[in-house]
Symmetry: C2
Subunit: 187 residues, 2 copies
């Protein structure tokens, strides 16, 4: 660790050659940190006339219910990422049956890709980031204890379209670029 | 600039506390470079029974024809990003009419969101990254001179579904995680 008092790392904002906007750069080594929106991948897993929800073991919104979802990683397809997240958070193996919804959350520069899924083998349970995983019937979903607005939106979309081809939902009208503070996906 | 010979910047791979995979970190300042897939946003712009294509002024694939598309930026919705890219590369103002296709290109860790669009006001022309912009009738598209496989796929999807609600296309069967070398979106 350095004892120098000036900032270190990519903390200086400058327009790189050939670019048209400022990027965070490191004045020590020249590293340019191109930041772009991140992709959240996840699924509404339909089981027994209801849906799998995970109770969050981590902040933000610890203790609230969410869909199994998280950051897409390098080298995977969006579909494989959604299946991986369902396994990591809900210990369920699933097949996907279409893109249910795509939500933009520009305040935190996220795009969320939510798939519709079904169990490919029996069983589910909490992964390390979940306190609990339960299958809720539609009329038992804890609507007041959901972690994020996009969880509510995706559940409503899945309830409207439990089978058949999907025209993916997007942000509700008027709620696109203006999501309330506190709305976010996994950190 | 440093005269030290050891590597600088986030070039050392290590698993950060609480994480489960290696990330590029800087041993000088502790900066962790979380790299995730990047999002390409773009559009098939339908005009006069055909489609707008841009001839690339930049590498890779300079001189080949492509859709107006590029990296989504922080703080915008996917839709706004697609409209911005159409303006930057094809100097066209467009309205979007649905998500036409979502392609994963895991070899280069991209997700491409391609919308169907129509001109909202007359006119188009080359932006700084395009040598030329032309409206091609479907039977005049230069199929042999397209820049990337995903351009071909998106044009075929748009030709099949020029109007109405869209179930977004995904990678063709067997071509998902195995895109041939040289296939990529904008660099």
């Amino acid at each position: 660790m350095s004892t120098m008092s000036r900032p270190r790392g990519p903390v200086t904002r400058a327009v790189p050659p050939g670019d048209d906007r400022e990027r965070a750069t490191c004045t020590d080594c020249g590293f340019i940190h191109y930041e772009n929106p991140k992709i959240i991948v996840g699924a509404v897993v339909l089981v027994l006339g209801g849906v799998l929800l995970c109770r969050r073991a981590i902040q933000p919104r610890r203790g609230f219910w969410t869909l199994p979802a998280g950051y897409m990683e390098l080298g995977e397809t969006a579909e494989a990422g959604a299946q991986r997240e369902v396994w990591e958070e809900a210990r369920a193996r699933v097949d996907l049956s279409g893109l249910l919804a795509i939500y933009s959350v520009p305040r935190i520069s996220q795009v969320q890709l939510i798939y519709r899924a079904h169990l490919s083998e029996p069983g589910f349970g909490p992964g390390p980031e979940s306190l609990d995983v339960q299958a809720f019937a539609w009329d038992e979903i804890p609507w007041e204890s959901l972690a994020f607005p996009t969880v509510t939106w995706a559940l409503e979309a899945a309830r409207r379209a439990p089978v058949g081809a999907l025209v993916p939902e997007t942000n509700p009208p008027g709620d696109g670029a203006d999501m309330p503070a506190g709305a976010c996906g996994d950190e």
